[in-house]
């Protein structure tokens, strides 16, 4: 099976290690990884800020970049959702809308692809640690994926997963929200960190680098002893 990887701009520049785990994971299940080098960013920062004319250019570029793909897989629920916004963004241009719908239909977030397409619920990973999982908002509410990460994590050997209190509340990232409404975002991320501490987790796991960059950045600033890991890293962990 050929899988075209959309690594996301954050994944490309800030978290290349996550991408390596994604590649290894998918290859283990026989996927041939295609990385279209023309890929950029999904355009969400401009879209959510209301610059839709500008976002259309980005969207069209990404539609062309992934047009040949059989499946598009991305290690971010939020960026997957943005691809799925393209048809409504391009609703006034019927031919582009059609192409956008095709992209939307073949786009999957990583755990969703593992669990629902490859039918994997155990990646045979092992990681001895107490951990908690942050359910990112776009992935759960807009993509509607609430099961896959939990199913996959529940089978990681040695991982003790404790539910995060108030897990439904946003971490305060929200893209440009974090820099535009900093004082509010700060309170939101502080409350998230408080709840993470309540679980006594050593590791915070998430499926979206944006949320993890936000929570992780605050954890780092506050010198809290919690390590942040993307779910791809956890699912690809191998301990002796």
């Amino acid at each position: 099976m050929k899988v075209s990887l959309f690594i996301t701009c954050l994944g490309d520049v800030f978290y290349p290690g996550v991408g390596k785990d994604v590649v290894e994971l998918l290859e283990r299940y026989g996927c041939e990884i295609d990385f279209p080098g023309e890929q950029t960013c999904c355009g969400q920062p401009a879209y959510n800020s209301g610059y839709h004319k500008d976002t259309k250019k980005t969207a069209k570029h990404m539609i062309q970049t992934f047009e040949h793909a059989e499946y598009v897989v991305t290690p971010s629920g939020s960026c997957a959702v943005m691809f799925k916004e393209y048809p409504s963004l391009l609703k006034d241009e019927p031919r582009w809308k059609q192409r956008a719908e095709e992209l939307s239909a073949k786009t999957y977030e990583l755990t969703q692809f593992l669990y629902r397409v490859l039918k994997v619920n155990d990646t045979e990973a092992s990681l001895q640690a107490r951990a908690t999982y942050h359910t990112s908002c776009h992935m759960t509410r807009l993509l509607g994926e609430t099961e896959a990460p939990y199913e996959l994590l529940s089978n990681v050997r040695g991982l003790q997963l404790k539910e995060l209190p108030n897990k439904q509340n946003c971490c305060g990232f929200g893209g440009t929200f974090a820099v535009k409404m900093t004082p509010i975002s700060e309170q939101m991320v502080d409350e998230k960190v408080e709840h993470i501490e309540e679980t006594e987790a050593e590791i915070l796991i998430g499926s979206d680098s944006g949320c993890l960059m936000n929570i992780g950045g605050r954890i780092d600033r506050l010198n809290k002893p919690v390590k942040v890991m993307h779910i791809a890293q956890v699912l690809n962990s191998r301990e002796a």
């Binding site: 401009a46 700060e186 960059m213």
Partner: protein, 474 residues
Amino acid sequence: MPMKIGDHSFDQRVSKGLGETHMRETVRSAQGRLHTNKSKAEEDLGNWEDWRTLSEEIRSHTLENLDYYLEQLSDNVIKNGGHVFFAETAEEANQYVKEVAVKKEAKKIIKSKSMVTEEISMNEALERAGAEVIESDLGEYILQIDDHDPPSHIVAPALHKNKEQIRETFERLKGYDKTSKPEELTQFAREQLRQEFLEADIGITGCNFAVAESGSVSLVTNEGNARLATTIPKTQISVMGMERIVPTWEELDVMVSMLCRSAVGQKLTSYVTGLSGPREEGDLDGPEEFHLVIVDNGRSNILGTAFQSALHCIRCAACINVCPVYRHVGGHSYGSIYPGPIGAVLSPLLEGYDDHKDLPYASSLCAACTDACPVKIPLHEHLIEHRRIIAEEEKKTTRGETYAMKGFSVTSSSPRLFDMATRAAPIMSSPFTKEGTIDKGPGPLKGWTDVRSFPAPEKERFRDWFKSRKKEDS
């Protein structure tokens, strides 16, 4: 500017809100309680998603045929012996109510809770005309005696106050001398209000839903004050937003169930009242005269636009009760009597962007609101649409933001520029980088690094690794 609260800037309001420890504790615990209760009520009913779909259909059908149902409602109110007034503006609505008050030589007016009368500042208009207006909803009563403190929540207007603050208000202004036990506080307010009910010349209510087929007004309360306000005074005036209507009692059944469950997690509130005009011969109580004031005040401008579904709102506050932004800043930070996600959508629609252009940005777009809405209003999408209008049509965003977004879009639609920019990122950021993180970011990064560290870009991008790996393989 009737919906607008105060003259402080958005940033000033937020900073005040964030500093109010009591308010934030109260809101936090209320959100927790309401979340639990609503989830339970959804579960009890079963098939919640199907009920949401049905409710959305009812609301959108009604709004698509609003002219028809409003005419039917109006005809039936008149048939029942009542009077109907269509008010295009807040001023027209207030003028009409004032005229009724003058004609009836009303000295005292008792009110049950109504957001639309807050929206049009009806109390102030009536007071200017010389009438005494008394709020009988407990929350509204507390705010009214506390120097007209504005509501901070559309269902629980005094949510920002805790019981100790309420005790203090009662003591300072009404000579209360008991404890802050909710039962005692309520008993005191009840005694104070009972006399007012008996003396009132006019009762004014809002309207949760008007029923077109019978010309009725339905009122959903937990305190019973709306019943007293509609049975004791000789004249009743109900004020409704023009969209608050259902075709028949069958749809009312669905909407009331959704409202009660979504607002307070109850199957039904203690009182659900249906009123169809003035008292008829043989009736034991009820007003001698009934007026229905149907308020447009900007609503018809929303019809037919991308925002039409905002008019589906049944004012249950479910979106407010799950909003993580509201949770921290409280209702007054929104600067509008309609706070939270629905307020951030409605306030600019009803009153324009001049006073409310910050509100669509007071959201992380987490979509908890959209998820909670019993009539499926895509609230976070409406917030994005507001941002689009502000950026692309009104051109009210800062020049810095416009340039940044243009730059971003040019870069992300050109693989060559994207490659150059991401390749240069580690070099560009190296002066700010220490041990792999950026602690004091330049320009737009400052907001980020004021409270969080920012990761330094990696020297080898994913794409470089992937390319070299492929080479090795071949």
